[in-house]
Symmetry: C2
Amino acid sequence: MTRIATRPLNAAAFAPFGDVLEAKGAPDMLINQGRCARYHDRAALDFTDGRAGISLFDAEPRRLPCRISLLERHPLGSQCFVPMTGNPFLVVVAEDDSGAPGPVHAFLTAPGQAINFHRGTWHGVLTPLHAPGLFAVIDRIGAGGNLEEVRLREEITIIRGR
Amino acid sequence: MTRIATRPLNAAAFAPFGDVLEAKGAPDMLINQGRCARYHDRAALDFTDGRAGISLFDAEPRRLPCRISLLERHPLGSQCFVPMTGNPFLVVVAEDDSGAPGPVHAFLTAPGQAINFHRGTWHGVLTPLHAPGLFAVIDRIGAGGNLEEVRLREEITIIRGR
């Protein structure tokens, strides 16, 4: 069975798959008389035949090591996950290989990081590691099939990396 | 000096000002083989001459009692605040009185609640009560003046209600 170790999430490593949103480095502006730092417009929202909407997801927490047997992607829209707790979560993505999932990568977020999957990025289902598994999700609201699911020929085990 | 006591935030009381987003009651759908509840499309996004964007705000925490001397509103767009911690925050809003802030109301969120101010709602600046004061903000990205600020003739003190 293939084992993949998590890596700490950072913007450079995640760039092929999406955006990392975090209040890190110099803010784009200071507002509210200097009392609030704004990191401006940090997600590439991208919706075909639809509009942005905000939903809440309450997902069952998992534990590492964790088996992954299914990957999915959304051909019509980006999908942003904002954790509503300070707990890290697991992010599993795959490169695309001629329309099917290719090599898989696993990332562990740090507190304060949100992610935005680019449209069409292969990814695992939402995988919190702590309760409550509560997220705000900014994704496409619209008609039409926006979910492709692929069951992996062989399960993958995600283990905690260094 | 006027004192206003916080009330617990709930959707009915907040309806004149915006939406409360929370994973409460029956979800709209179960996804990921039943492992995730989706509370679907819970914010009335409303942008004039602009588009939705996701920014992060890192705001200085305040303490109750807390003095408010400034209210603001955004004539061109709704503004959603998603806390990235499980900590409650203070939400101050005002009714509109012929284009100026009227009676003020103060709400204290519960863990897991996010809010979306409707376009044009008078509100106080972002007021976390705990560090880090970290929020994802879904608001209007676009040109043009989208901020009206009003300095109150008399400061208001927000005190913790029951």
